[in-house]
Structure formats: C-alpha cells, structure tokens
Amino acid sequence: MLDDGSRSETLRLQRAVGAVRVSAKPGHRRGTTVLDGLYQQGAGKARFPRTHSPWLEAVLLNTAGGITGGDRLTTGVSVADGAHLVATTQTAERVYRSLGEDGCLDATVSVAGGGVCEWLPQETILFDGARLKRTLNVEMADDSRLTLLEPVVLGRQAMGEVVRRARLVDQWRIRRGGRLVFADALRFEETGTLARRRGVLDGARAFASLLHVAPEAEARLEEARAILAGLPGLADPRGDVGAGAGVGVEAGASAWDGMLSLRFVAADGACLRRALMAFLERFRAVALPRVWMM
C-alpha cells in the first residue's frame, strides 16, 4: 500500500507540516543516556524503543506517510556532553511526485563535548517527479563523535519504475569547534539522462554518503577499507560489470582533517541496504537499530 504512489498522492493534497526535537543527556547510571526533552508538532513524531543498549535510540516518524511538494518537516537533535544518541527513521521516506514545489526537510544536530550522535536514517526513495530540498546542519565540539548516513534510492524497485524527472538538493554543513570542516552539496537534477552518465551513476539506482567525524576517525581508514573490501555484492572495479549494469555495489573511503568519508553506489536499493548494513555492523561493532531489520 505504501508503495502505491498515485493513491498516496490523491490522499495527500494537503501539505504536511511537522517538527520534532529530541535532546539527550547522560543518565544517573554511569554510561547511560536518557531523554532530556521532546517536542513534537504536526506530522513530526519520535518513538523511543526499549533497548538493552546504554545509548538512547530515537526513531523518527513522518505521520503524513511520505513527502510531496510543499511539505515542510524539521528535525532537531541535541546531544549533551557524555550522552550517546542513535537517531533513525521508522521506515524509508518516500518522496512522491510534486506538482511543482519542493518538499523541504531541514535537520539540525548539535553535539556537545564528548557526546556521540549517530544519524542513521533509512533510505529516501525518490519517485518519478519527486522534488526534495534537504539541509543537514551540524555543530559539534572537537572531541564529539558524529556518524551521518544518507541513503538515496531512485524509484520503486519492485515496480521497475524509471525515474525520468526528479530533483534532490541535499546540503550538509558540518561545523566542528566552530569551524566548517565538511560541506557536501548534492544537486541531483534528473531530466532524463543524468543517472545514466558514467561519471554520475552509470545507470545505478541507489547511492549513499557516510561520514564519521571523531578524534580517531582518520586512524580508522584502513579498517574501513578492509570492511569495504569484504562487502557482499562488491562489484569488481576493473570489470565491465558494475553497479550500473545491475550488479553489485561500488564503495570507497578517504580520510583527512579528522574525518572519514565513504561513498556507495549500488545497482538497487536492496543491494545498497545489504552493503550499508554489513558495513555499519562491523564498523560500529554493535547491532543496527531494530527498525533497520524490519
């Protein structure tokens, strides 16, 4: 039902507006994190599943059930010194055909002192005609730890949908100790041939950026590369059959200036998800949030 774009469109003529803000602080018991504040408005909601882990897990929801033109959702996450928050989303975010306007998703993350924030949303799926403008602004301290992930899938795989037109503008700005250390600007404007270009996706239909910023981030480059080399479905980079030909995932990593940055390009959403789960499970050495398994 959720994959029926046309039905959802007719149900969703009203614009959705929502906001959710979550803050986390250290609990009384050493090494634990508790909820410090929660604000929910409109379509923005957060759930906090009971886990056996010491960190706080926040599952963000858009109760409007997808994004369309004119929607505006904001998310704010703040993590205090000594706290550890893992934020994810209940399900993949579907971006339906827009009649002209952009849907807007704005997120701000702040991490203080030795706080840890992991932003691990599930994939954003762009339907044919989707228009999405997204911003992610992070303020962190020199000794904070941050992991950011944004997976994107073009079209509904099961329906073999071809995305002929779509627009995704995604702006990341990471400030560490007040200094802009990382800016990523994705401007994906499909008008028919963009994804087929060899330097863009070579016909692949899914991609993701993953960034890790931490005092030890650069020192983990070799470890990250070793995990990538063992990923399920890894395409042979020198072979003629790559992600664009419908086979496998391509991935690479680099580290500089206190950061570790990874990129993934995959034949389809399922392939991307398998690769991301395999990477994150080994790199984080803990299980992913349960919603990722469902």
Partner: protein, 230 residues
Amino acid sequence: MATGMGTGTAMDDAALYKVSVWLSPAFPVGGYTYSHGLEWAIEAGEVRDAESLRDWLETCLAHGAGRSDAILLAAAWRAACADDRAALATVEELAAALSPSRERALETHQQGQAFARTAAAVWPEAALDGATLRYPVAVGWTAGRHQVPLRATLICFLQAFAANIVSAGVRAIPLGQTDGQRVTAALAECAVAIAGEAETAPLDEIGGAALRIDLASLHHETQYSRLFRS
C-alpha cells in the same frame, strides 16, 4: 570581447594578457601532477578513448567540481571588487570544506597556495598577505583585484580545468595530441554555458551529482601504480 558582469567596461588588452598568463599551463601551480581521479577511471577501463574522456569531463564540468569551482571563483571575484575580506573568508571556508576526498582536498589546496604565492611575488600591489586560499578562490580574488572581467576569467578557468585533465588523459590512456585537442574543443559549449551560469549564481547554488567521479578519486588513493597525485 565580452564584458564582465558588474564591471561595465570592455575588457582591455592588459587584462586579457593577465588572465591568459594565470590560466596558462606555464603558470607554476603544478596542475600537471593532478588528474582529478581520472587516472583511476583509466585504470578501471571507464575512460579508454576520446569519446569516453569527453563524456567524463563533461560530467566534471557540468555536474562536478567545474561548476562548483566556477561559483566559488565568482564569489571570490565579487569579494575582491568590493574589497570585502569577510565575504572572502566565507567563500574560502566553503571551498576548503567541499572536497570529497583527501586527494581532491590536496589538489585545490596546493594549487591555490602555488597560485597565490606566484601572483603575490609578481604583482605585489594586488597581493593578499597571509591568507590561505583554495585554487578557485585564489584565482577569483586575484582577477577581481586586477579588475579582470569575471566572464573571461570563468571561461579561461574552466578551459584550463578541462585542458589539464585532457592532458592527463593524453598521457595516461594514452591518446594522440590531436585527439586530446578535439576533446578540449568539444567541451567549449559546455564550459561557456557553465561560466554563464556561475557568473550570477549565489553560493548556495553550489552542488553536484558526479558521484562516480568522486568515487574514482577515493579509489585513486589506493591505486597501486600512479603518475598523478589525485
């Protein structure tokens, strides 16, 4: 000759001479040591002839660093014309943060330093002391200080960017010199269109989709045998 945006005057011959000097391969920024990830694309068989090189470069220009650097250059040029150091600092901060890999960060950092150092030594009257500027910011600032029209600077910058990677392709594929020149010539329309767009684009228009070109740069870092630093 085209007039520069906001300058209102036709480009004079001295300005044309200067911009040709700065963006000539003879100006010592060490451009020939960088391939912008192309060396990996050649190793992987993605780029193997003139047509695949042209296609790869068109993506670099229209959806990659070409367009983003052009917008940074234009913002630095405007900061120079207004002698606005705060605006320059904003552009430089963004330019420094935009690289997708260690090697691409090195490419823009080292060329920027070399450019600024030489320009300051030759034309001390327009020098900016003590500032570290990434390559497109250094070029834009210098051109603005020397009142070289923006449009001409952008076209020369994009031509130099493309020709430098073509030259890497000619050496690494390998490709005949004439075929290389055909590729550079075929990119003219794209480069001029990007220059026109960048001339008025605000900084938040920066962005690209050259995901596999970025990926090539990541792979280049672990490439076993390499001639280029990026």
